[in-house]
Amino acid sequence: MTRDYRAVDGAESTLGQSPGQVPILELRDVHKVYKVGEVKVHALRGLSVRIMPGDFVAVMGPSGSGKSTFLNIAGLLDVPTRGKVFLLGRDVSRLNEVARARIRNRVIGFVFQQFNLIPRLTIYENIEMPLIPRGLPRRERKKLVLKALREAEGDTSWLPKKPLQLSGGQQQRVAIARAIVGRPRLILADEPTGALDRATAARIAALFIRLNREEKLTIVVVTHDPELAHCARKILMIRDGRIVGAEAPQPQRCIAYSRR
């Protein structure tokens, strides 16, 4: 299993930043059908997309258009009914559960709307969580946790606290620290500002921009919020389970730069 994973890692080194290279993430004609009793829900209907290394892509679309479904399949949390998923050039749509878990652990970092921190664990333990399956020594874990917290613009005074002792914005920064602590290549964020007020959302947006520019993280953000979408390098429109178009973002509309 570990070997499989290294193959993915190995592909990494051949990747460049320029277009025409191997996409970090590619979905080809992905369909997803949910069966609820007798009813079939077509959440994705032939979705295809390529995300290049270093990209910052916002995916926008109406409610129920399949944004979360897309993100779950891209993040190996769900399997497509039909179609293929490539991560770092490798077909991952047919991997077994253990291999998928390993890839989620090392290549991908998730950020959710509801933060999804574990309430009984301290902030330190929450951020450390993705390092546990890797079996890293304690000291190394600590270094990575502190680094991730710093990059996520968090404060070390939070570390011994529990998530509910922090504000929503602070919790989301902790969640972002948890997403990047394992040095993944790809951040998948589902409505990361959906539960935050405007000022806090602006900080999170700025953080994503920085992580993309300075840490060279590839970021895919699913959002309803145009003000967040315009912070990205590219906006994809999704409707009825398909990508229906792309838009060039207008940076002046990005919430991180707007003053109000």
Binding site: M1, T2, N72, G75, L77, D78, E97, V98, A101, R102, I103, R104, N105, R106, F110, F112, N116, I118, R120, L121, E125, M129, P130, I132, P133, G135, R178, G182
Partner: protein
């Protein structure tokens, strides 16, 4: 894969421990439920084993080659019985005895004692464990001299009341023509026995032994209370006992101490079996308790399990952490249970076991052995694992995408 799982085991255990502390009351109740099985097992098995070892030891100490014949109410034993018994193959010695219950003074206190008038040489020879601590056996003709038990000469605190040469007054009752008559006799202490320890039929520590002739001469008894048969070897006892039963039928009760120790051993085995069966029921209940608790906590943590999967925990790692949580509860439960069981065993055993009709109270420390504790802990852990299999399976099957949608 397995190696990496073992490597992260301590971290998974830490996480499992944290999960337990989240719902403290529920975890505590489950642990208490788990503790009942180990507690019952430790307490009951410990006490039963303690008593049984004690009784068997005592019986064996009392003479494994003894057979006692006690005539029934309408049969009188005579010298022809003695002659018949003496000629049987495998029989070494035969002596009749007189016995009755009496009271003796220990300072201001009356204590219950037994009086045995018996051929002292034969009796003391047969019961090798019986030792004189002071004085000597009175000669057969000296019907007013006695050897007294340790706890007649001394009380429990070690205070002395009688020494060799002292006069001991014994009080007992008899019926004559429907009237209760009180008798008082005085004997001279010729010897004091070393402490023997509580025993079954004869309790030498609170017995006054007199020469056989004291029966009719001093106590005024006309009928033998019974006959003691000493076999050449314990190996003959069983067959002799069987034979004597056939011969005497209804006329006498034939008792052998070996037989009694066998009965005690089999009663103990039966009690152990019952205890283990009852204990297993308690363990089954514990397993269900663990299963119920863990299922609830797995359901409550559906979303969290989804997050763990998203973060990269494998199903095996999640299953392991759930099982570890149950094992942790089991370990705590068995620790509490065994501790409570040991305490209960000591509490039970100090109260002693009263053997009705024999006027004997057995006090023996419970026998709690390391293998027993290890087995109990192992069993509890197995129960924990069994109880958590279903919840763990449930947790592993949760699809991550759906778990994350779960409210």
């Amino acid at each position: 894969m397995t190696a990496s799982l073992i490597r992260i085991l301590p971290d998974l255990a830490r996480y499992a421990a944290k999960a337990l502390t989240e719902k403290k009351l529920r975890s505590l109740l489950t642990i208490v439920g788990i503790a009942i099985g180990p507690m019952a097992l430790t307490a009951i098995l410990g006490v039963v084993q303690g008593y049984s070892n004690y009784v068997i030891n005592q019986l064996e100490g009392l003479g494994q080659n003894l057979i006692i014949l006690v005539p029934s109410a309408n049969y009188d034993m005579s010298s022809s019985d003695i002659a018949f018994l003496r000629d049987l193959p495998g029989v070494k010695e035969v002596t009749p005895f007189y016995s009755l219950r009496a009271k003796a003074k220990q300072g201001v206190r009356d204590i219950d004692i037994a009086i045995y008038a018996v051929d002292l040489d034969v009796f003391f020879h047969a019961l090798g464990k019986l030792r004189l601590e002071e004085g000597s056996l009175p000669p057969p003709g000296d019907t007013a001299s006695a050897v007294i038990g340790h706890y007649i000469a001394f009380d429990e605190t070690g205070t002395r009341y009688y020494r060799v040469g002292d006069v001991l007054t014994l009080t007992y009752y008899s019926f004559k023509r429907g009237r209760l008559i009180q008798h008082s006799i005085s004997v001279i202490v010729a010897g004091v026995l070393a402490e023997f320890g509580n025993a079954f039929f004869v309790n030498p520590d609170v017995t006054v032994f007199l020469p056989l002739d004291a029966g009719p001469k001093l106590l005024g008894m006309k009928k033998w209370s019974g006959i003691i048969v000493v076999a050449d070897s314990p190996a003959y006892v069983e067959n002799l006992t069987k034979f004597l039963r056939e011969v005497y039928g209804e006329r006498a009760n034939v008792i052998s101490l070996i037989e009694i120790s066998k009965v005690v051993a089999s009663i103990t085995a039966a009690m152990r079996f019952i205890t283990i069966a009852a204990g297993s029921a308690a363990f089954a209940v514990a397993a269900t308790g663990i299963a119920a608790t863990m299922i609830t906590s797995v359901m409550e943590r559906t979303r969290e399990i989804g997050v763990l999967k998203a973060i990269g925990f494998t199903d095996a790692e999640i299953v392991t952490s759930i099982i570890l949580e149950a094992i942790l509860m089991s370990l705590l439960g068995s620790a509490f249970g065994i501790a409570a069981g040991v305490a209960a065993a000591y509490a039970l055993s100090t109260r002693g076991m009263v053997l009705q009709g024999m006027q004997v109270v057995i006090r023996a420390p419970p026998e709690i052995t390391l293998p027993m504790i290890v087995k109990t802990i192992a069993l509890t852990i197995v129960i924990g694992v069994l109880g958590s299999l279903l919840p763990a399976h449930r947790a592993a099957r949760i699809p991550p995408a759906e778990a994350l949608r779960y409210e």
